[in-house]
Symmetry: C2
Subunit: 212 residues, 2 copies
């Protein structure tokens, strides 16, 4: 990754997109490709589904415990979706970053805005756009055999989500998944080389100068 003698702080890679733009596929490919980045595990108040594992798929919490943790500032971001709460526990993320490991977040623009308030310096925000409206419409229709009004509402939601691309650092137009993955990997490589993340640099440079 970086040079062994230079300690690096991990980063938080946020991927957002309207549904149907290919974000889930890209996330999966990136995680499979790069052992130094792992998916953030959310906490939730919803009941575990069959096969879901505590600490792997979610941290499962009672509504009371979730509320206590919100009050103690233990979430980097949280939201209510229908009747359940979801949130990103601060502890495991902070531990990964201190350890030089990167964390991937698959969240929407509202979650991203909350992360900006709690962790701006560690954040790398990438927005995935579909190559065309026609393509997006096709993907949203292909996803499910839903009645036209459901597709229409999903498209209206996509249009609203797209308008928030202005909150992101990098934009990838996902025309070809291999090309998009390569671009995402370049963003990760570049961000790891940022001076501010190479926290061991001042020691390294002092060593260089002493040898001169």
């Amino acid at each position: 990754m970086n040079d062994p003698e230079i300690k690096r702080r991990g980063l938080m890679l946020v991927l957002s997109s309207p549904s149907g733009a290919g974000k889930t596929t890209l996330s999966r490919l990136l995680l499979a490709d790069d052992p130094n980045i792992t998916m953030s595990v959310s906490a939730t108040t919803r009941k575990p589904r069959p096969g879901e594992e505590e600490g792997v798929d979610y941290y499962f919490l009672s509504t009371e415990d979730f509320g206590l943790k919100v009050n103690r500032g233990e979430f980097l971001e949280h939201a209510k979706v229908f009747d359940n709460y979801y949130g990103t526990p601060r502890g495991p993320v902070e531990e990964a970053l201190s350890d030089g490991r990167d964390v991937l977040f698959d969240i929407d623009w509202q979650g991203t805005q909350q992360l900006m308030e709690s962790a701006e310096d560690d954040l790398v925000r990438v927005f995935i756009l579909p190559p065309s409206g026609q393509e997006l419409e096709m993907r949203l229709k292909k996803r499910a055999q839903d009645p036209p009004e459901v597709v229409a509402s999903r498209m209206a939601k996509a249009s609203d989500e797209i308008s928030h691309y202005t909150d992101y650092d990098y934009i990838i137009v996902n025309e070809d998944v291999d090309m998009s993955l390569a671009r995402l990997k370049s963003i990760l490589t570049a961000e790891r080389l940022k001076r501010k993340r190479q926290v061991g640099l001042s020691n390294f440079v002092r060593g260089l100068q002493q040898a001169l």
Copy 2:
């Protein structure tokens, strides 16, 4: 590079390093690899050497013309080195950037500071470090059969140059030239994907939303 329908503004890639860290080799490899980036051509008041071409190696100016251009703000940065003036003419760089082409600058920290004042938003600053003081000493000694006091003064200068790494966005420790080139290319790919450089994005997004 980017998607054909999205117009992009070019960027100014600044490479700085102490001499002996491998910057010149990296610049040459990058220019050979990527047709969308070209070396910035400086203006100078020194006389052309045999084989040097106007507009290719340098823009050759009289001291009077150089001074006039300085007064008119036509240089992005300039400096006096021994008895001659050197500077980066603003016009050709601005034309390249507007046209979506990137420009490479091989300048020191003082030139970089001047560029920060005149062109901060377009600037991507990369500092190349040697892998170790011993390695740098070896490279500086290998470069010429100079007397020990010349090598010593060159090393003192290198130590001073290194201290300015804190002014740069990205740091590459040049242990292996292929690895460093790959990292430099990732930085270029990532920076081209920055939202702020994709000036045609708002049109593209409007088109997406109209199709939904």
